[in-house]
Symmetry: C2
């Protein structure tokens, strides 16, 4: 294939080409939905498996609730619905029948539902409807439940992994006996996301709280982590909400507290989705294709044997067998605060004689496989193999007995390098400004810390003029007197602005 | 809680009570859909994880296709659609709006889809539509893809795990360059299911091929595994289909073969669902509650400390710490032909002071936790603990240093016992008959092997009169001349009849 469009030429086109050429996903005949192809899905599975262990290590359990939600539920939590209810997939009928004109099938008008059902855009309402029956006393609390499911929000302008009508996500919905416990849960689980982001995604996001006007519908506080992309834009990659008693009131979920009084339950919710894959691609990849952090790579090592005859291949097989025996038992250690396991070294041999070595090199570079090993007859003679290290773009000839050491050192080095690069990029692309002119200049280049007056009105005006929004009030923002860059009114701290996806 | 209804009194009611009391699932406010509760979902996750590894060990990969399928696709494969298309969830609109009368939300009549979309009852059509773009040459084959997803078939009479409108399943859809390869794949994957059934579900099904009139719509051959339930009925637990070129023709998927000729692709498909959980409960459980084979148990060992004060609990904690240290690193070995990993010993301590020990004993017996360990002050004094073995119903006092040995021996013994009991039950409840009178008597008691003339007409009449169907032509059925029990026409072998769910 031809070379990818470069990021400098067209960042958006470059992304689309990576998604296509690395076989990650494609748009579907059903407009607005995507097909996640095997290589893209393998990345998603690695993300899911690690997050799932982190959730279990913090006492959470998985469950599953219905995909269809009665329309009436969408009138219960008014603020919540304002966000989601409008664009959604609505089931109105439950039967097809043969077209009397012989033209395939038609919807049977007799099979109309009494109440329309909505494909879940999110599951708060249906889950809290169950919680109502599960929670009676403080003894039933906390409930720490996670669901993995497809959800649907009707999107007309789609972009693979970033924005499609159907997407896959996990959503946590927890119930607690006190405001303090619920708020602590929301914060703690943001810490879990952050642990995942830094140790596995190799991304160093800004953590903070959303300003009033950017909060999740129905939330008392929305905590967020905001990573920076290579074009300086932000992405709301994941949020964690402390919901107070709003959902409990909407669904009338009360419990008897330790003082034997009836009280509404305190709630949290949060989730991340296949959007993480968009983020992963955008943050690390280069003009040669995808770069996947080794902790999430579907394949860590690919071996490409160079041979013409079955006999030659046999010789190579014998030569590399000791290497493979060791690969089979190698486990990689990416342990973190919330993840305590090791993961197997994932490797493959590509001996497909239908593809040239050059085509294979190109394919695995595009797919971001961290290490490629090439072995031919000459290598056997000299006791060497060739190793290509994707993230460094370096090729070298090494003794076959040193391969393990190279892999072991490089895997962790690549993982750390990616994190280091992302952190440095964020640091060099975060600007502290004092005037609106400075703001307008720097917002084109990255993240901007600026004073603001805290009103929605000002935020809206800045957004209209610059497309930038308040991403969050960072947890580590310093308290300091100042004036709003836009209105000149007093401010007590700078907050994080950025353009975003 | 009161005791469960016994199986002898009401097998169906007994099942419903287990599902409720062991917190496995419940029906939802959305009629026809179920909520899978955490303990039920944990069993489902164990099933999924093991099957997923088996699929990967046989070269399959996962991917994900859209949940919504255009209505027109349901006219493409006529036979296929005859099975599924009629009762399904149909999306006709994509937007809600505020009710002008102020009564919540209504469907926006302006937001009507040009073509209605169906929530997938199965994914053959949408997947083959993608395959059309992915397959050009024999070099692109085989495609061995598995999808895990929710599907929906509108069911009015629901039963938790057995029959609900929405259910979770895996579905394999493979594409091949020859009929032989595709048929071999369909048979091999039935072997994978059988490996899973015997080594993990502890169930010994009959394997065979479906008769013509019971085949999957669009299939050339449907291979099936049919386990026996405690009431002698069969369940179609999983099937594997060789589809020939039917789907490729419907979706016009051709490839260039090695002779450089254009040819339609050969296909297979198959799947198992949350129905496996129904099967698991029905096959093994007893009047005391659920019995889960240890290979799939969410919890292998529960420790119930008996104490009154925090000081007493502290003493127990110290006493059992060495045990827990060993549990932490214990892995169980249920390796089989297609599963090569070990699984961690899953254990928990239930020190909840809100529940009495008696209530806990009852709960874990109901949930089928294989081993319960009870420890109190008296046990510490004597260096003992009490072990209760769920499947044997045996309680004994053992030295604390012997606990590991007891667990190690019992876990595998319980797993084997369950398989042995299921196998013996099937053997003693499979009857070979020669007359229709014998048939009618024995069919009330279990599986029946009988001659039949191979016509759909006869099969239909037998079904009308006895409710029994031909479950399969077992792979190990002996060729022997005989006459149909119903019509007296010639037959070359006996086939398996049973009543079924």
């Amino acid at each position: 294939m031809a070379k990818l469009t470069t990021r400098a030429t067209d960042y958006s086109q470059w992304y689309n080409e990576i998604v296509q050429e690395a076989w990650l996903a494609e748009s579907s005949v059903v407009r607005w939905c995507m097909v996640i192809k095997p290589y893209g899905f393998a990345i998603r599975e690695n993300i899911k498996d690690i997050l799932d262990k982190m959730f279990k290590n913090t006492g959470h359990v998985n469950a599953y609730f219905p995909i269809l939600i009665p329309k009436s539920f969408f009138s219960k939590e008014a603020a919540h619905v304002e966000w989601f209810a409008k664009e959604c997939a609505i089931v109105t009928h439950y039967r097809l029948k043969n077209d009397p004109n012989g033209k395939g099938v038609i919807v049977d008008p007799e099979a109309k539902l009494e109440e329309e059902l909505i494909i879940r855009p999110t599951s708060e309402t249906i889950i809290w409807n169950s919680y109502k029956n599960w929670i009676h006393s403080y003894r039933d609390l906390p409930l720490l439940i996670n669901q993995r499911a497809n959800v649907m929000r009707w999107e007309m302008r789609t972009r693979m992994f970033l924005r499609t009508s159907e997407f896959l996500r996990q959503e946590w919905h927890t119930a607690h006996a006190s405001a303090e416990e619920a708020d602590a849960e929301a914060k703690k689980m943001l810490d879990v996301y952050n642990d995942f982001a830094t140790h596995f995604m190799a991304i160093d996001p800004v953590l903070g709280v959303k300003p009033e006007h950017e909060k999740f519908a129905g939330a008392v506080e929305t905590y967020t982590f905001e990573p920076i992309m290579q074009d300086g834009k932000a992405l709301q990659a994941g949020t964690s909400h402390y919901l107070g008693q709003n959902f409990a009131k909407a669904f009338d979920v009360k419990f008897t507290n330790t003082k034997n009084e009836l009280e509404f339950v305190y709630a949290t919710s949060r989730g991340v989705s296949t959007r993480l894959i968009w983020w992963l691609i955008m943050a690390h990849s280069d003009d040669q294709g995808l770069i996947v952090p080794p902790a999430l790579a579907p394949i860590h090592v690919v071996i490409v044997p160079i041979f013409k005859t079955p006999e030659e291949y046999k010789l190579i097989q014998n030569y590399i067998q000791p290497l493979i025996d060791r690969f089979e038992t190698t486990r990689l250690d990416f342990k973190s605060k919330y993840f305590h396991d090791t993961i197997p070294l994932r490797w493959k041999i590509d001996a497909d004689t239908n593809k040239s070595p050059g085509r294979k090199f190109n394919e695995y570079e595009l797919k971001g496989v961290p290490i490629r090993i090439t072995v031919g007859a000459r290598d056997i003679a000299s006791g060497m193999v060739e190793i290509f290290k994707r993230e460094l773009g370096e090729k070298s000839s090494v003794k076959i007995e040193d391969v393990d050491l190279h892999i072991d050192q490089y895997i962790y080095k690549a993982q750390n390098n990616l994190l280091k690069k992302n952190k440095e990029f964020r640091e060099t692309h975060t600007f502290t400004v004092s005037t609106y002119d400075e703001f307008k200049e720097k917002i084109e280049q990255g993240f901007v810390m600026a004073h603001r007056d805290g009103t929605t009105e000002t935020a809206d005006k800045i957004k209209t003029e610059t497309s930038a929004t308040v991403r969050c009030i960072p947890f580590d923002a310093v308290e300091e007197a100042g004036v709003c860059i836009f209105s000149g009114k007093p401010s007590i701290r700078r907050v994080l602005f950025a353009k975003s996806y």
